[in-house]
Symmetry: C3
Subunit: 311 residues, 3 copies
């Protein structure tokens, strides 16, 4: 693997899941693979799970890890040809080349603005690092995708499914703040590539990027969509048409024990209790969220391992 | 040892002090004990000594260390059953379970509000992590206690005492800001469990929690209390009755060379010079503060070792 | 080597350059030299290159690294004898002694105020750490010098020069913000000690500290100064006489491909494109800036190695 930017960088999702599960059962098996190699993790945004699980994954492989919160450094410029006489002190052209010299792998987290749709869609931050870095780049959640989360989610479904082709539903949920589309996007792409019966349900007007949703069935009636579901992935996203706006906080879309039925509940975390999902769901045996977060470690480890082996 | 939350988690204080002193003389003796184990240090508040000494202690034992300043992440919710539609993005129920999957030991620093006495006394933050974490928890200073500091203090007294039962006085000192009671509380508990002649002196109205002070002699005349003292532990705390208020900044309570006599001066640091204690004391041979901070490493190492051995 | 505070701490610059180049060709050769040793890096100011390259250098030598951003701790006091009843919570006397107990080497970054010339010139922060620390101190850029950068620059010139005594010009460039004199100062001192034909060019009124410039030729006509140059080191600095003021932003001083001729372009980074230097220079083969930043690792590694070997 050269980079891990989207799920397309996995040559076989099925094999990736199996290999990640093998790593989970023996995390230190490749503890010398990353010896004398350094992972630099660059955060433009806050992180809990991604920070900890990716660092742990790298340590399992024997890598050194350096974490840099961009707020401890200075503002980067991403536009080409600009006269840098305002706030930005350094251009990503230099920053990416420079960091590449201290890193064997560079992982980047950079959320979307949710203000400039075209710019967010262009993945300007992640793409700039890929363009100028001279080492492999790992996407730790970008403007439009979170492929490490989607891989962890797929591992979790593989571990928990009790039938060959489970029914999986992605259900929108309300949230007071404008959230990115990245987790939903990558989950959709992962499900499209998996042996599942997959559909999406959300309020009218909350359609996601049609280039991602493609032929996946979409409906607007939550109760009906959830019928006989085996897995329900709940996630808020802000409006994609009225880009980045919160046009609904309809509390009737909150996931409840009753709506969930006997399905397994999934969420990428952090989750707002009793807004996105009621306590009774999270506190039940049907919640897979803690397992999902654990699988983040092995998703990241699979990706780092694949990159190191190519190196 | 399961957790290290209060001094009560030490089965024998005397043995703990001796073992910590042994670690001090050979810090890397157990350098394989923590191999492939991770300490996650979670800071809700600023830290210098605790951050450095605990990280160093863990490295002595061969552990990996991940430091997370909660300000680099997001606000956590601690109330049960709350509708999380305000500032908090994640509930401690999830956070503690999630972090437990990346950690073998979880250390937490969380100061009191000094506004809500009942809530602070409940140790809501520390207690929540203990409740929901699935790994051992270490108290790196909580609302009401700082047992790592108290252990370092006891080691220091053991190293410096020249008589079997030294006279130890805890003396209040002025400070411009409202400070917690944690250090004073844990020191009192440690002295109560030690073979010392212990008393407390502070201005009238500055009584600490009677459930902690218990039968320890308390007086209000500093000069008289300090007579023939072997060790004088100086510390400011804010008013406990008028909870969290600074009702006195009486400069006459500042520790001076003259008041100290031939006693050894102790303070947990950071200390405000010429407010809490005059330069002449800190710059003299009678000051044990640098030694105390060094012993923080071995106090932490003893605790981590005890936990790892139980693991 | 006891400390690395200025270039004077290198007994032989020539030998240092050769040893650093040897480390570059075999970075892990001394990977056991720093075993069970800890580097504490203390940042009073933001850092990208220094943070990453110094950490990587230490890891090459097998050291443990602890990074502390002073903003995660609290404000330090540096004045002697002061009554600390304002913002500062801890005196550098204590802080430096305390950190020394957790560190084998202490590296410090502390920029000048650019407001109080006398105080900045006194190097009060760095000097305080040297005075009170009980372990070697490394200057990661102080008020008046950046000797790690200057060593990396000298390595770069050594690697790229095609004649025994190249012509090197330090040229001022415009910048919207007031910048320190540290990089220019250390580069001047390094060139004065090197076998080069060295001169400085800057607008009238932008003279640097005469105690540093000494007999080095200074001129005010950029075009003329750059004639037949082999290396052009471009750097902004704020006014030294009208201390810390930006008295010129004359865009005609920006470095261009045309002015550069066939010389090699050098800059310490971060650099503002199309303000300090035009894109065409940075994007050309003549730019050595990425190589300079790579050499930061080996400059730092040489320094840490020298200190460890003395230890």
């Amino acid at each position: 693997m050269k980079h891990y930017l989207t799920l397309n960088d996995l040559t076989s999702i099925e094999t990736a899941i199996q290999e990640a599960m093998a790593l989970k059962s023996d995390p230190y098996k490749y503890k010398y693979l990353g010896a004398q190699k350094t992972l630099v993790m660059l955060f433009f945004n806050a992180s809990l799970r991604t920070r900890l699980s990716t660092e742990k994954a790298a340590k399992h492989l024997g890598m050194e890890v350096i974490v840099l919160n961009v707020t401890d450094s200075w503002q980067l410029e991403f536009e080409a040809g600009v006269v840098m006489n305002l706030e930005s002190s350094e251009h990503v052209k230099e920053a990416a080349q420079v960091i590449s010299q201290y890193a064997d792998i560079l992982a980047v987290r950079a959320f979307p603005s949710l203000k400039n749709k075209e710019k967010d869609q262009s993945e300007w931050i992640l793409t700039s690092f890929v363009k100028y870095a001279t080492v492999p780049v790992v996407n730790m959640e970008s403007a439009t995708g979170h492929p490490l989360q989607a891989l962890a989610d797929a591992i979790t479904i593989e571990e928990l499914k009790t039938k060959k082709t489970p029914k999986v539903v992605l259900s929108w949920a309300p949230h007071p703040k404008a959230l990115p589309h990245a987790v939903a996007n990558s989950f959709i792409e992962m499900m499209q590539a998996s042996d599942v019966n997959f559909s999406i349900v959300h309020p009218q007007g909350y359609d996601l990027d049609p280039n991602i949703v493609k032929e996946t069935p979409v409906s607007y009636l939550q109760d009906k969509a959830l019928e006989s579901a085996d897995f329900v992935y709940v996630k808020n996203w802000s409006n994609y048409q009225a880009y980045g706006e919160v046009t609904s906080q309809d509390a009737s879309w909150m996931m409840t024990k009753q709506k969930l039925g006997s399905a397994i509940f999934m969420h990428c975390l952090p989750v707002r209790r009793n807004v996105v999902v009621e306590d009774a769901v999270l506190d039940s045996e049907q919640s897979a969220v803690i397992m999902q977060s654990n699988n983040r470690t092995y998703a990241a480890q699979l990706v780092l391992k694949k990159i190191l082996e190519n190196g």
